[in-house]
Symmetry: C2
Subunit: 389 residues, 2 copies
DNA sequence: TTGTAAGCGTTATCAA
DNA sequence: TTGATAACGCTTACAA
C-alpha cells in the first residue's frame, strides 16, 4: 500500500468521483454498444457466437460502465450462485482461542476470492443445526457447494449432502485409518462429551460430488511417539479431543498401534478424551499427575490444552520438561509465549484451506471427485520435551 | 440432541426418505392449492389480500411441499438478498490466537440466523482490498448491508459505504473521544505498523444509513488505571495495539487524561504501539524492563501480548505480580491458564455482536440510524496485579 | 378477495 | 454472426 498524497482516496485512484447510483446492466451495455443483450452475454462470458470486433467493443463499454454481473440474476438463470458455504458446529463457549479456524478460513478465502467466489459462513451449536443449515442453503439455492469440517467417524453429513447433490469437500477424513475395531478413548473424569448419534452412513449411489482432503494423522502421531521413545519415554498419555471426531479416533488408534510396535506396556499408554477446553485439559492433567504411575510425557490434541497442562504441572511443582515432557498438536503463538516454549506439531493450516477450496472449485467445474492428501506436518522441537526422568 | 435409535437419521425424523430432486416453487404451490401465484406470494409473506382460509390452505401446502424461498429470485425482484457482509482486513499472520473475532461472529450469527439472514464473510490482507470487496458486493448486489469492524480514526469506509448507500453498522467507533489533538503513541522498537493512508473523510450528505455501536474505551481505561493507582502504581505503561485504529487512539488518550487527573508524572506514563503480535508484545516488554526506570505495571491491549509479557518477565527473573503488575485488555481462556492468572478486562463480545446484528437488521427495516453504547466491560481481578513494589 | 401480467438481469434457444 | 424471445422464481401493480 502506498501512502500517496493526503487527499488521495484510499482504495485506488480509479474510483469515479461520484459512484453511479444505478448499477449498470447488460442492457445498458447493449444499448450503448448498439448490439443485442445476448451478444453482450456471449461477449462477456467468452462464448462463441460474436465477432472479435464486437466482442472487443462490448468489453470496452462494459469496462467503461463498470459493469459487474448481478449475482442474483446469474443464480436465477441456473448458473452458479458464486457462493460456497462453510458451517462451524461448535457450542459457543468452545469457540475461542484456537487459531486453527481463522487460519483455515484465511487459506480458503485466498483461493476463493481469486476465483470471485464468496464464502457463506455460519456458526451453529450442533450437528443437527448444521444439517438444517445445509438443507436451507440447498432449498434457497444459496450455495454451489460446501466445505465440511470436523468430520466424524459416524457422519450423517456426507449422506445428506450427497442426497442434496451439493458438491462437497470434506476437510479431514471420515475414515479411521484402521480396519480393526476402534479402541475407545477413556472418558475424562468430567465426562461431558456431547452424545453423537450413531448413524450408519446411508448407502449412496456411487457417483456423488464429494472429495476428501486427507491428513495423515497416523504418521503425525508416529513422529511424535518416535521422538518421545527416543528420549526414553515409556509412559505416554494422549489428551485427546472430542471422541467421535474422525481425526481424534485416528490419533487414538495410531497411538495404540505405534506404541505396540515399540513394545510399550499397554497399561502405560492411553488416550483420554476431552472437549478441547482448557478446563478439561487442566483437569485431565491434574488427574494424571496425581496417579500412582504418572506419565513422563503427555501429548495434547491442541495448543490450549497443552498450555493449560504446563500451568497445572507448574502449579504442582512438576518441572517441565525435566519431570514431564509435553507436546502440543498444532502450533500457534501460544506455544511460543509459554515457559518453556512448547514442542509442537506444525501444520500448514492455511495451505490446507487453499487446497480444499481449490478442490471444491474443481468439483464445481465438473472434475471427478478424489481423495487428496494434505502436506505432512512436522514436529517443531522446542523446550518442552527432553529425556525421560 | 437425543440419542435415538441407531438407525434414526441424525438431523431429525421429519426428513423424507428421498429428498425431492426439484425444489418446489410458488407455482407448484399455486397449482396444488388451486390459486394464483400472487395469492401464494401474499399468503407466504404475510401481506393483506388473501382470505384467512386460503392463506391457511396455502401455508399448509407450502409446508407439505417443503417450500423455501429461492433467494436469488427474491434478490432479483428487488427484495433483499438475505445476506449481510463482514470483511476482516488483517494480514494472514496476524490472524490467530485472538478469541475476539470468533466470539463476535458467533454473537452476530445468533441474531442473524434467527432472522434467516446469512453472513458473507471475507478475510483480506488490507484496507484497500476491503474497500474493493464492498464495491464488488455492491455491484453484484450480494449483500443488503455490512458490518464494519476495526474502525480507524481516519477511515475511508464509512464514506465509501455511504456513497454506495449500503446500510452499515460500524462495530466500534471512529471517533477518538476527545477533541484535543491526539497524543501519538511512540512506535515500538520494531516499527512495523502498516502505513495507514491519511484520508480525510469525505463530507457526506447527512442522511446515510450508518449506525455505530460504541464501546466506552475511556471508561474502561479509567477503571484499569484507577485499580492500579489504588494499588500504589505510579509508573504505568500501556502496550497498545495498532495505531490508527480508533479504539487504540481512544485508549491512548484516556490513559493520558486519567493519569494526568491523578497527578502522575507524564514521564512515567506512556503508550507504546505494536501490531498486536506476541513478538512485538514481548519485544516491547523486554525494552521496558531493561530501561532505567521500569514501569511497575503494564496494561496490554490484548491477551496474547499480555501472556507474552508474563513470559518475558519470568525469563528475566522479574516476578509477577510482586515486581510487576500486569493487566490484559480482553479476557480469554489464555488469561486463566497462565501462571499467574491474569487480571483482565472482560467484555461480552458475543453480546456486542448480537447488538450489532440487531441494529443492522433494524436499519434494513428502515429504522433511523443511531449510536448505541455497548455494555460496559468490567475488570476481572485475578493474580497478576498487586501492590506496587 | 382474487387472478393476470409485467419486470428484475441473466442465460439459452431459436430464427434470421 | 446476430437479434428477438423465452425461461428462471419471485414481487407487485393493476384488473377482474
Amino acid at each position: 500500500m502506498t501512502t500517496g498524497t493526503p487527499a488521495a482516496n484510499a482504495d485506488g485512484p480509479r474510483l469515479p468521483a461520484a459512484p453511479p447510483r444505478r448499477r449498470p446492466t447488460m442492457k445498458d451495455i447493449a444499448e450503448r454498444a448498439g448490439v443485442s443483450p445476448s451478444a453482450v452475454s456471449f461477449a462477456l462470458n467468452d462464448r462463441a457466437g460474436v465477432s472479435p470486433a464486437t466482442r472487443a467493443r462490448i468489453r470496452e463499454v462494459a469496462e467503461e460502465l463498470g459493469w459487474q454481473p448481478n449475482s442474483a440474476a446469474r443464480a436465477l438463470s441456473g448458473e452458479r450462485s458464486g457462493c460456497v458455504g462453510l458451517v462451524l458446529a461448535r457450542p459457543a463457549h468452545t469457540l475461542g482461542v484456537e487459531s486453527f479456524f481463522l487460519q483455515l478460513v484465511s487459506g480458503i478465502q485466498e483461493t476463493l476470492s481469486a476465483h470471485r467466489t464468496a464464502l457463506l459462513f455460519q456458526v451453529v451449536e450442533d450437528l443437527a443445526a448444521e444439517c438444517a443449515t445445509y438443507r436451507r442453503w440447498w432449498a434457497e439455492r444459496r450455495v454451489d457447494g460446501v466445505l465440511v469440517v470436523d468430520p466424524r467417524t459416524q457422519d450423517p453429513r456426507p449422506g445428506l449432502l450427497a442426497s442434496l447433490a451439493l458438491p462437497t469437500v470434506v476437510i479431514g477424513d471420515t475414515r479411521t485409518g484402521t480396519d480393526a475395531p476402534m479402541p475407545a478413548a477413556e472418558p475424562a473424569s468430567h465426562p461431558s462429551p456431547p452424545a453423537i448419534p450413531a448413524t450408519p452412513a446411508a448407502p449412496l449411489p456411487p457417483p456423488f460430488p464429494l472429495s476428501t482432503i486427507w491428513a495423515d494423522d497416523a504418521a503425525a502421531m508416529r513422529s511424535i511417539i518416535d521422538h518421545l521413545y527416543e528420549l526414553g519415554h515409556r509412559r505416554i498419555v494422549h489428551i485427546a479431543g472430542l471422541p467421535g471426531l474422525a481425526h481424534t479416533d485416528r490419533r487414538v488408534a495410531a497411538l495404540r498401534a505405534e506404541t505396540a510396535r515399540l513394545g510399550l506396556d499397554p497399561a502405560d499408554v492411553r488416550s483420554v478424551s476431552t472437549d478441547y477446553s482448557d478446563e478439561q485439559g487442566a483437569e485431565a492433567t491434574r488427574h494424571l499427575l496425581a496417579a500412582p504411575r504418572p506419565p513422563t510425557a503427555i501429548v495434547y490434541d491442541n495448543d490450549v490444552m497443552a498450555v493449560a497442562g504446563v500451568a497445572v504441572a507448574a502449579g504442582r511443582g512438576v518441572p517441565v520438561p525435566a519431570a514431564l515432557s509435553i507436546v502440543a498438536w498444532d502450533d500457534s503463538p501460544l506455544c511460543r509465549v509459554t515457559h518453556p516454549r512448547l514442542t509442537s506439531l506444525v501444520r500448514d493450516t492455511a495451505g490446507f484451506g487453499r487446497l480444499a477450496a481449490q478442490e471444491l472449485l474443481s468439483l464445481l467445474d465438473g472434475a471427478p471427485t478424489r481423495r487428496l492428501q494434505a502436506e505432512l506436518p512436522h514436529l517443531e522441537l522446542r523446550d518442552s520435551t527432553t529425556h525421560a526422568p
